[in-house]
Symmetry: C2
Subunit: 290 residues, 2 copies
């Protein structure tokens, strides 16, 4: 079970093991736990149950949405009731620009949650290092599985990272990143307000951290078809459908705001606004909706 949309890399990883994924719609509070429970009960009625619930509770990739405390509690109540494991994938957790950090699912229920974290987003992606925390039984299984994949993560990199952490340099680095990314997010949001055409149904998320925001187009528009027109104008996005584990998302796409320069963000959003405004579905949607 995953939210809809969810991280494309997780979808690929689950696919490679032939997993059948069930996506649960999310709203601005995160995965809709009422829908989640309904799906689980539907499975239970058939004598089946999911292997685990995969969740990105903080500044989700791709949507930028953070799960509220109420939903977190609900999620864990459901997991407890149906004896399910929750995989908490939280690569952006430390990158909060504003507001209060919600408790980690792992902290709320250390017996039932396997937490996945990474140095890729808070220090450097080129090292390919992260960490996992949770019940010993699950960790031991993961260690065995990892051994058969790569024996271990590079000791050379681990050793450099250890030294870096040991000297207490990470906190400082995180505050530098937060400041830089917050400026980028603020700027992209203001550029979106400035350059996006006024279309019914066109909207975007307002993430409180992380790297991504999510744009929803009018229903009549197809972000996959429009992608080629965007590329012709040398502006790109990741098409929404890539993030849907079981179909959907045709009228949405992900924008990363951390990577590009301010000038690039402005020019990119401007061009994107032009592409969207002149794309066929946009007129249609404007006509259809009074």
């Amino acid at each position: 079970m995953t939210s809809r949309p969810t991280y494309v890399g997780a979808i690929q990883a689950f696919n490679s093991y032939g997993a059948k994924m069930i996506g649960i719609e999310q709203d601005e509070e995160g995965t809709q736990t009422a829908l989640l429970e309904a799906e689980i009960e539907k499975l239970a009625a058939k004598g089946s149950k999911p292997k685990f619930i995969y969740e990105i509770p903080d500044f989700q990739n791709p949507s930028g949405i953070t799960m509220t405390l109420k939903r977190r509690k609900e999620l864990l109540r459901i997991a407890e009731k149906h004896d399910l494991i929750v995989v908490e994938d939280s690569p952006y957790r430390q990158l909060r620009f504003e507001g209060k950090t919600e408790p980690a699912l792992l902290g709320m229920n250390p017996d039932r949650v396997l937490g996945l974290y990474t140095f890729s987003k808070i220090l450097l992606p080129g090292f390919r290092l992260g960490w996992m925390a949770g019940p010993n039984e699950l960790i031991q299984k993961a260690v065995t599985a990892k051994q058969s994949v790569d024996l271990c993560s590079p000791p050379f990199n681990q050793s450099i990272l250890y030294e870096f952490l040991h000297r207490g340099l990470l906190e400082k680095q995180i505050s530098v990143i937060i400041k830089a990314y917050r400026r980028k997010r603020d700027f992209m949001l203001s550029m979106l307000s400035k350059y996006m055409p006024k279309l019914p149904g066109l909207k975007w998320t307002q993430p409180h951290g992380g790297l991504f925001l999510w744009v929803t187009l009018p229903e009549t528009m197809d972000a996959g078809e429009m992608f080629h027109a965007a590329i012709e104008r040398q502006v790109a996005y990741v098409v929404g459908t890539a993030f849907y584990p079981d179909g959907g998302g045709h009228n949405s796409f992900r924008r990363n705001f951390s990577y590009s320069s301010m000038a690039e963000i402005e020019e990119g959003v401007k061009r994107l606004g032009e592409v969207i405004g002149s794309w066929k579905g946009s007129q249609e949607s404007a006509i259809m909706t009074p």
Copy 2:
């Protein structure tokens, strides 16, 4: 299909995907291709065939045995006849101490062989970098599979390695290693001759390269049971059974000769000779065989 014994890491990796492995006995010329062909034909009679043949042709881990040219030709003839892919895992290929390098399976049939190579044994294991070569179709599948496992190998390490290779430093490094490992192998072989008890059936391989040699004990002895006695004397080996994909190998073990110092090799082999000489099965075997 693999040889018997074969690399324990490969066994683990295949196991993690639920593979059914069929082991083919090897002798001093490598995998016995006549037995391999017989097994494949047995499967074919049942309308089945192996997914691929896994082979470590050069200084095999664990045995140190190198496949002869004749056997290589036979292996590829069989693969061709039955339309099978051969996975050539050759981490030690560059570490030849003496004799002529046999052609790589990949070079002999680039359309049917997927070659796996590594920098771990010729430069440094701490980088966890290697390379794969073979038919484009297979490489593309491997790239996709690798993406869903780790996205990519650390770019940081790749960049350092690129610089190292670009400066032409690898050849020099390999000749340093070969010289050092050859001395160790020569020394371990002479220590084995000196300290091993004279028992019928006790023998070891004489590898022409690589890192390992393989000791076979009398049939009546169990290397797994004897392991604890060895550990008590603070000398270790890897028990033979670990390298058997489908059972067997109780009276054998692997010795690494590249890692320990000369003094450690002498002391280790000496203690091992004492453990073997005083182990229960050894008297039995001496009595049983006139």
